[in-house]
C-alpha cells in the first residue's frame, strides 16, 4: 500500500471495501475515486444492490396453518 491514498491501486482500494462500506467512513469521498471511474462504478453498484435488498424483500407473513401445526405438535408432545 502506498502512503498516498490518492495513488492507491484499484486492488488496494477494493481490498479495503469490506471494512469501509458500512463502517461510518464516507467511502464516496475516498481520493482514489476521484480518478478511478471503475472503482466509482463498483461502489455505486454495491450500494445499489444493498439498497435494493432492503426495498425489494419485504418480510412475509406465514399462513395461519403454521401456527395450527405448531399447536398440534405441542399438544402431542405434551401428551
Amino acid at each position: 500500500m502506498t502512503g498516498d491514498p490518492g495513488k492507491m491501486s484499484c486492488a488496494e482500494f477494493q481490498a479495503q471495501l469490506p471494512e469501509l462500506i458500512g463502517s461510518g467512513v464516507d467511502v464516496s469521498a475516498d481520493p482514489h475515486l476521484e480518478s478511478c471511474d471503475r472503482c466509482r462504478a463498483l461502489l455505486a453498484e454495491l450500494e445499489t444492490i444493498a439498497e435494493a435488498a432492503r426495498q425489494l424483500f419485504p418480510s412475509v407473513e406465514p399462513p395461519e396453518e403454521v401456527w395450527e401445526h405448531i399447536e398440534s405438535a405441542l399438544k402431542r408432545e405434551g401428551e
Binding site: I21, G22, D26, S28, A53, V66
Partner: protein, 220 residues
C-alpha cells in the same frame, strides 16, 4: 465523488461508542412487556409462547423462505424452528438479544435441512473460507458494465437464490433482515471481520450475476 445523495454517504454518518451501523436502527432495549412475555413463555405459559410466535413469525418465516426458496418447505422449517424454540426456551439466558438467539436456532434448522437435501452447493464452513477461485471476480480487468437503472426484483431474487449458502445467509441477515455484523458473528460463530468480508463477497457475486443477466453475452 459529486454524488452527495449516495446511499453509502447518507448512511455513513460517523458513529460513536460502537453504535449501530449507519442507516440502521439501534436495537431497541428490551421492552419490559416483551421481557415479561419471554419470562412467562420460559415458565411454560402457552399464551405467552403464542405471543412470541406472533412477534417473530414474519422474520423467521421470511428467513426460511429466502434460504430454501420453497413455500411448503419454509412453512415446515418455521414450524420446526418454533418447536425447537419451545423445547429450548428455558435455556435462554439473555447473553444475546432474544431475536439473535432465535435466529441462530432457526439458521441451524435451515442448514440442517439443506445438508439433509444435499442441495447445498457449498457448506457454510466452506463459504466462510472460500478459495480464491470460488470468490467473485474483482472489478479490475473486466469491462465496466454499470448496472443501469433500478434492479428488477425477480432478477435479484434469482441472483440471491443462486448464491452459495453461506453468502446467501449473510446477505439475507445483513442487507435484507438488517442485522449488524456483531449479531451475525454471534449467530454464525465467526468473527465480525469474517462477516464483513463474506458480505462483501456476496454483494460482488450478486453484482456479477446481475451483470450477466443484463449482458448474457459477457458470460465466460
Amino acid at each position: 465523488m459529486p454524488n452527495s445523495s449516495s446511499p453509502t454517504q447518507a448512511r455513513n454518518a460517523p458513529r460513536a461508542n460502537g453504535g449501530p451501523e449507519p442507516g440502521r436502527t439501534a436495537p431497541k432495549p428490551a421492552n419490559p412487556a416483551d421481557a415479561e412475555v419471554l419470562t412467562r413463555a420460559q415458565a411454560g405459559d402457552h399464551e405467552a409462547f403464542a405471543q412470541l410466535y406472533s412477534l417473530h413469525k414474519r422474520r423467521i418465516y421470511s428467513l426460511c423462505l429466502r434460504m430454501v426458496g420453497n413455500v411448503a418447505e419454509a412453512e415446515d422449517l418455521t414450524q420446526e424452528a418454533f418447536l425447537q424454540l419451545h423445547r429450548k426456551i428455558a435455556t435462554f439466558r439473555g447473553d444475546s438479544a432474544f431475536s439473535t438467539w432465535l435466529h441462530r436456532l432457526a439458521i441451524n434448522v435451515v442448514l440442517m435441512q439443506l445438508r439433509k437435501k444435499g442441495l447445498s452447493l457449498i457448506s457454510l464452513d466452506e463459504a466462510m473460507e472460500p478459495t480464491p477461485e470460488e470468490g467473485p471476480s474483482r472489478s479490475f480487468g473486466a469491462p465496466d458494465l454499470t448496472l443501469s437503472g433500478a434492479i428488477d426484483r425477480l432478477a435479484l431474487e434469482r441472483a440471491v437464490a443462486d448464491l452459495p449458502t453461506g453468502y446467501r445467509l449473510i446477505f439475507i441477515l445483513h442487507d435484507v433482515e438488517g442485522f449488524e455484523h456483531n449479531e451475525i458473528a454471534s449467530m454464525l460463530d465467526c468473527s465480525i471481520g469474517n462477516s464483513k468480508s463474506q458480505l462483501h463477497k456476496a454483494r460482488l457475486k450478486l453484482r456479477d450475476a446481475l451483470r450477466s443477466q443484463k449482458h448474457p453475452e459477457e458470460r465466460p
